[in-house]
């Protein structure tokens, strides 16, 4: 279970690294968050079954993830209005 979570986490990281599109990078971040959730729940279920701490941690992460996605998509839409693109390489006003 934890090995699965590790694999998914690093696949998400690779998605963030190799893609140059803001939306697909956001999808990589979602994959990483989900991997962390699996980890919390698995630890809760197999090692500490008498309490629900991992469960609530996962629940809180799940509440924060949509907020993060909503803010990110608002930013992406704003960037698209300004630059007419969602590729990270073309949004370089602040870089130079």
């Amino acid at each position: 279970m934890i090995v699965l979570s590790t694999v998914v986490f690093f696949i998400g990281l690779m998605g963030v690294l190799i893609r140059r599109n803001l939306i697909t990078m956001l999808m990589g971040i979602e994959l990483m968050l989900n991997a962390v959730n699996i980890n919390f729940v698995a630890f809760n279920h197999y090692l500490f079954p008498h309490r629900l701490e991992g469960h609530f941690f996962a629940l809180i992460v799940m509440a924060i993830a949509p907020a993060e996605a909503a803010i990110a998509i608002a930013l992406i839409i704003n960037i698209y209005r300004q630059f007419a693109t969602v590729s990270v390489d073309d949004v370089d006003e602040l870089k130079y």
Binding site: M1, V3, L4, T6, V8, F9, F10, I11, G12, L13, M14, G15, L17, I18, R19, R20, N21, I23, T24, L26, M27, G28, E30, L31, N34, N37, I38, V41, A42, H45, Y46, L47, F48, P49, H50, R51, L52, H55, F56, L59, I60, M62, A63, I64, A65, P66, A67, E68, A69, A70, I71, I73, A74, L75, I76, I77, N78, Y80, R81, V86
Partner: protein, 169 residues
């Protein structure tokens, strides 16, 4: 091989395969649909571990909310048939090296560690227990994070509306 083990391996294989497809697919809408499959399979894992409420929340929030939001933003910002250009070879190489190195390192560390279960007797994870504990102010209660999250969600709502609005000037 018992039944739960078979189900676990099927779900794990689905998660890994679809997440790899989701980050390598050239069509961005297909990538979003593969992400949806990953999230649904993860909620199946939660069902397998007897966390029904968490599985339902996963289905509603991720599969119902975030994927729809992502698909909306894809449709707003790109053409439906457009293909992404394939990533640069240097990016691909560095990303793959980082990911595989991280997987190997973390897996070796995990497999060397001996996990000992602490505590006996599973609590039941029905909605009644979860709700009571979520609004409890005792030592194992989660009333404060619950309230903080509600403030955070309100702030995120107002902030995203403010960011995404058109310029009035």
């Amino acid at each position: 091989m018992t039944g739960p083990k078979i189900i676990f391996f099927v779900l794990a294989a689905a998660i890994v395969v679809f997440s790899i497809l989701s980050i390598t697919s050239r069509r961005i809408l297909r990538a979003a649909i593969f992400l949806l499959f990953v999230l649904v399979a993860m909620s199946g894992l939660y069902y397998m571990m007897n966390f029904q409420f968490l599985a339902a929340v996963q289905l509603i929030l991720y599969a119902g909310g975030i994927v729809v939001l992502i698909i909306f933003s894809i449709l707003l910002t790109s053409q439906i048939n457009s293909r992404l250009e394939s990533p640069k070879i240097s990016h691909l190489l560095s990303g793959a090296v980082t990911a595989i190195g991280g997987i190997v390192l973390a897996t070796v560390t995990i497999l060397q560690f001996v996990f000992k279960p602490a505590g006996k007797g599973a609590v039941d994870t029905d909605i009644r227990t979860i709700g009571l504990q979520l609004l409890d102010t005792d030592i194992h209660g989660y009333a404060l994070p619950f309230e903080v999250i509600s403030i955070l969600l309100l702030a995120a709502l107002v902030g995203s509306i403010f960011i995404a609005q058109k310029d009035k000037t």
